[in-house]
């Protein structure tokens, strides 16, 4: 400690900083400086907090979501191992499945071998934090109609981060207790945005209120479903909620394989070779 008047201790602020508003030593200049410093510090703090929020959204939520995904995945594996199938409930529909429970696993060869997510029932915030969520009331995997699934694009496990990279003809594999289903992304003549013969495109960008995309026959409310479709929805553009990116795929019954044990059959595994990069 130094008592010299000229000492410049950086750590300890100089004693002329007003600590009491009514100090006789405070000048107008001091007060203005004090106020400006306060505003400056507040703005810098706000900036740091917002930066931290971005880090939270993009990285930290992934950590939380991964933990929940692992939990729901192992719960489903355990159920399957015990011979229970959450999809085979009385009634046959998805009515009885508890919200937030795992129902199936999804694999997308284009996203690589390590892309595997357990789809949960329900599309509320809590369910979507565990993994991609199945819209309650839409068809079940392999069912006639539209197996519709929503998933986060940035943060929270980001299952559908690269949904925009899917091309016409790409496969989406859905594993249930009994079956491996293979859906093929729609589109005509290699153009994913083009309508195919059924009037459904491979990909479309719609407004969040456009629930028609998850109808049994997407965008055709009056038509009775005959085909087995899968629809994936996520936010678009990245980081925003102004629109939704929708990808439609059609079941290829020829590639459907029975499931016994957790090993991927050779025919399903072979789909990874075709995916390319």
């Amino acid at each position: 400690m130094s008592d010299e008047p000229g000492s410049t201790a950086v750590a300890d602020p100089p004693p002329h900083v007003p600590s009491h508003a009514g100090d006789s030593s405070t000048t107008v200049g001091d007060r203005i400086r004090f106020a400006l410093r306060g505003i400056g510090q507040t703005l810098i703090t706000a900036g740091m907090v917002i930066l931290l929020f971005v880090v939270y959204e993009v990285y930290i939520t992934n950590v939380f979501a991964h933990r929940q995904q692992v939990k729901v995945h192992s719960a489903l594996e355990k159920e399957w191992a015990q011979g229970k199938d959450p999809l085979a409930l009385p009634g046959g529909g998805s009515v009885g499945i508890p919200i937030g429970d795992g129902i199936a696993n999804v694999y997308i060869p284009r996203f690589g071998k390590d892309f595997a997510f357990t789809v949960v029932e329900g599309t509320d915030d809590a369910s979507l934090q565990k993994g991609p969520g199945h819209y309650v009331g839409t068809a079940l995997p392999g069912g006639t109609g539209n197996f519709a699934v929503a998933g986060h694009r940035v943060g929270k496990g980001e299952p559908f981060l690269n949904l925009d990279r899917l091309k016409t003809g790409d496969t989406v594999i859905v594993e249930t207790k009994t079956t491996w289903f293979v859906y093929v992304v729609k589109g005509a003549k290699g153009d994913i945005n083009a309508l195919d013969a059924d009037g459904v495109p491979g990909r479309e960008i719609v407004s969040p209120s456009d629930g028609n995309v998850i109808l049994p026959v997407p965008n055709h409310p009056a038509t009775q479903p005959t085909e087995k479709l899968m629809t994936m929805t996520t936010c678009h553009p990245k980081f925003t909620a102004t629109q939704r990116m929708i990808v439609h795929a059609l079941l290829n019954p020829k590639l459907t394989a029975a499931r016994s044990g957790s090993r991927m059959p050779a025919t399903i595994d072979a789909l990874y070779g075709k995916a390319g990069a």
Binding site: A11, P13, R37, Y56, E57, I60, P208, G211, I214, T234
Partner: protein
Amino acid sequence: MYVWIWRHLPGVLALKVFQVLLLVAAVCALLLFVVFPWIEPHLPISQVTVDNQ
């Protein structure tokens, strides 16, 4: 505000720095584990569903 906190921290410089780091960590933890998870559902940034009729 920061000046005020700094002046009220007891101890020598090293101890003060340690306390500051502790405070920063506590504030970050509070934001990441309490404030952000609570505030996030109210922000229109992570909605991925379409209206389900």
